[in-house]
Symmetry: C2
């Protein structure tokens, strides 16, 4: 039996090219004593992947040329030589871009299909949802009545940020691209307002929808939008730097926020984090979020592309902002 | 009797020109009931003054054209119609750029000449020293054994930051311009190391003197040095944005820190503040610092220029980095 894998063929310069990744076929590995064999059901497509394709060490080492690309997955146990796991069990893990993998069981998170569709373990109840939860509630901290602005607001992280802000009694203002996404976050997700950065002035939108200034900004994009929000901070504001998707494919270097002295003027702070800092609390957070989902307070949307072989193209779809909801690939 | 004042004649474009300020002569005002008449002894020359010459509102409103320039002073009570104050009392206040002023007594801080030379009320025991104290101990927080880096390290704020870092058991590394200042902060003030940004590579110096990375960076300068330090942050680092003197006279806009994603990679934060946030605790802090001075743990140096009329030129000296120690003018 054949295991297909995507390996890094070459480090991208700017926007990744299809030829930066290469599909290879290897035999499906056999589990040894204590191991399980997993088959991917859903593979997650996330912005952080771009950084791992670079040579520079970030919070994690880069993927080496010829190595299987990193990535999270929901998988099914197909064979088990580990008494803790049975065939048919559904798990979430960092599996890499391949159809099959063996695991010792370390790092497997058990998924209960009774709670929600298993694909949500890659989105609202997985890494993006946990990123929203800990970034908003632990890194920023929010108080009822504050105004929370989030960019990439229709995305996997941003959509959860705005909904948790509402659950906590905050005003939620989302920045997203295009009327469809803006309509969705207000009408479907209950954001108080949306700013369509493709068709509106973001500074004007912020002044209109955040008349008392921005208390919390959850930044997924960097670039001009970060500067626009910095110019509208309220005193004591908190900015969380979760990502900077506008900058990941830059070939002219990262653009720094020229309005950073707004931090000084407003006694505000800007803080970065990675969700792995909160690993020991994933279970607690996921249970609380599952409760909100069941109560109808937390909704999610997935953008599911069919076919393992579509990975390079699907990754580009992400960087073009063409996905609508948590982007993932369903493995045939 | 004549009161000389410096008023803002014109908003500077870039580096201030002498003609942006104008000296005017007015009669010395007479105190009414409840007021005191003050005569300036020392007038403080500080980086923040540049921002107040711009039209844009910062944490404080701008000085209007024709208004007396803002500034802190040490002054003597020369006439009193307020029972709380006697002729001969020495006070610290925001007096503005003038030789005489009347005051209701609000905002006057009494200075005890027995504790230290009264000029220290503009430096180590005044606004710059308090800025160092609260910025380092309250905004950043430091733990013994951490590495603290400070820019403009021979200046009024930076020199105190490094010495308090040492008092708290930290490693203190200063960035300053020229061998004289670097020698001073190490030999006289007890910094562990100095980096001469005018004659050395700052990144190389940081790698050498901060082998475990930078835990705390106290930034007074912005620009390239901020980016250099961001590239060397340790996990969980705190960056305090106190000022950005390299940018205040820019005619091409503020340069944002392009390495800001180091905050994300290192779960670090960058926070701005103004010392006025801690007004209610000035007395407590000044007493603790006076104790350190008397114990020989906290030293200071002043750069005193003679003559009220030298203000425009002395302000330029500050922005050229030519002062060595807390810059002030002694009024003749």
């Amino acid at each position: 039996m054949v295991n297909r894998q995507f390996v890094l063929a070459r480090r991208p310069a700017g926007m990744p090219q299809e030829s930066d990744l290469r599909i290879v076929e290897t035999p499906v590995p056999s589990p040894r004593d204590g191991e399980v064999l997993l088959r991917a059901l859903y593979l997650s497509v996330d912005p952080y992947m771009r950084g791992r394709m670079n040579a520079a060490r970030s919070y994690a080492p880069p993927v080496e040329i010829g190595e299987v690309m990193v990535g999270g997955a929901v998988a099914r146990v197909v064979e088990s030589k580990n008494p803790a796991w049975q065939p048919g069990d559904i798990v979430n893990l960092m599996m890499g871009w391949q159809e099959y993998a063996v695991s010792s069981g370390d790092g497997l998170r058990r998924i209960d299909p009774a709670i929600a569709p298993v694909s949500t373990a890659l989105g609202v109840l997985g890494m993006p949802g946990l990123t929203a939860y800990f970034g908003l509630l632990e890194v920023c901290g929010v108080n009822a009545g504050e105004t929370v602005v989030v960019s990439a607001a229709a995305g996997a992280v941003g959509s959860v940020v705005g909904q948790i802000a509402r659950i906590k009694g905050c005003r939620a203002v989302g920045i997203a691209g295009g009327p469809e996404k803006c309509n969705y976050i207000v009408k479907e997700l209950g954001f108080d307002a949306a700013i369509d950065y493709k068709n509106e002035s973001v500074p004007d939108g912020l002044r209109k929808h955040c008349p008392k200034g921005v208390n919390v900004y959850f930044d997924n994009v960097g670039g001009q939008i970060l500067d626009d929000v910095l110019a509208q901070l309220a005193r004591g504001a908190r900015v969380v730097i979760c990502g900077a998707i506008s900058q990941y494919n830059s070939t002219t270097g990262i653009r720094g926020p020229s309005n950073y002295l707004s931090l000084l003027i407003n006694s505000a702070r800007m803080e970065g984090f990675v969700v792995f800092n909160y690993l020991s609390r994933y279970g607690e957070a996921a249970r609380e979020m599952a409760g909100w989902m069941m109560a109808g307070k937390l909704k999610s949307r997935e953008d599911i592309v069919e076919g393992f072989e579509t990975f390079p193209d699907t990754l580009l779809k992400l960087f073009r902002g063409e996905n609508f909801g948590k982007l993932m690939i369903k493995v045939g």
